[in-house]
Amino acid sequence: MESWVINFLTIAMFFYIASFLLYIVRLLKGPTISDMVLAIDALGYDLAAFLIILSILFRNPILIPCSIVLTLWIYALDIYVAKYLEAKEMSE
């Protein structure tokens, strides 16, 4: 049972790393600021799911609160940029 689960999660890790690289390509060449915020949003949420899989792979369940904190602060970055763009539209 143990080797079956570990092998499956090890194979699933490669697809996650590939999709992280594709998200980073969009973040580096995004034409406007909104596309970059969108890319780092998706990158952060997928990284939060990836850290759960890694904490199963390491056999160390104490590592799970990192994922909760990462989710909440990525959302905070999103809201900051949205408030900045909207406040600039309101004042001018």
């Binding site: 600021i33 915020v37 780092i40 952060g44 990284l47 104490i62 990192c66 990462l70 970055l77 940029v81």
Partner: protein
């Protein structure tokens, strides 16, 4: 067959290499808001590195400071100073 330790070192190398162009672009970018997003990418990569090095306490503090408080302060300053760098 790859061991788990090899995969950990490969992921460390990839995330360390990806944080270098993010830092360079954050330094040379004229648009300060884009520089903030590049800095957030660099801190996300460092989060993955700290997690792979088995330091969850540093991850908890580093995310809060580097993604949360630093971007809040920089956006408050950009509101005062203006978005585009001119000289």
């Amino acid at each position: 067959m790859l061991e788990l330790a090899d995969l950990i070192f490969i992921m460390l190398g990839i995330s360390a290499l990806l944080s270098v162009p993010a830092t360079i672009l954050a330094v040379i970018s004229r648009d300060l808001l884009k520089a903030l997003i590049f800095s957030a990418l660099q801190s996300t990569m460092y989060t993955l590195m700290f997690f792979l090095l088995m330091a969850p306490d540093i991850v908890l503090v580093y995310i809060a400071v580097s993604i949360g408080f630093m971007s809040l302060l920089i956006i408050l300053i950009i509101k005062k100073v203006g978005r585009y760098e001119r000289y």
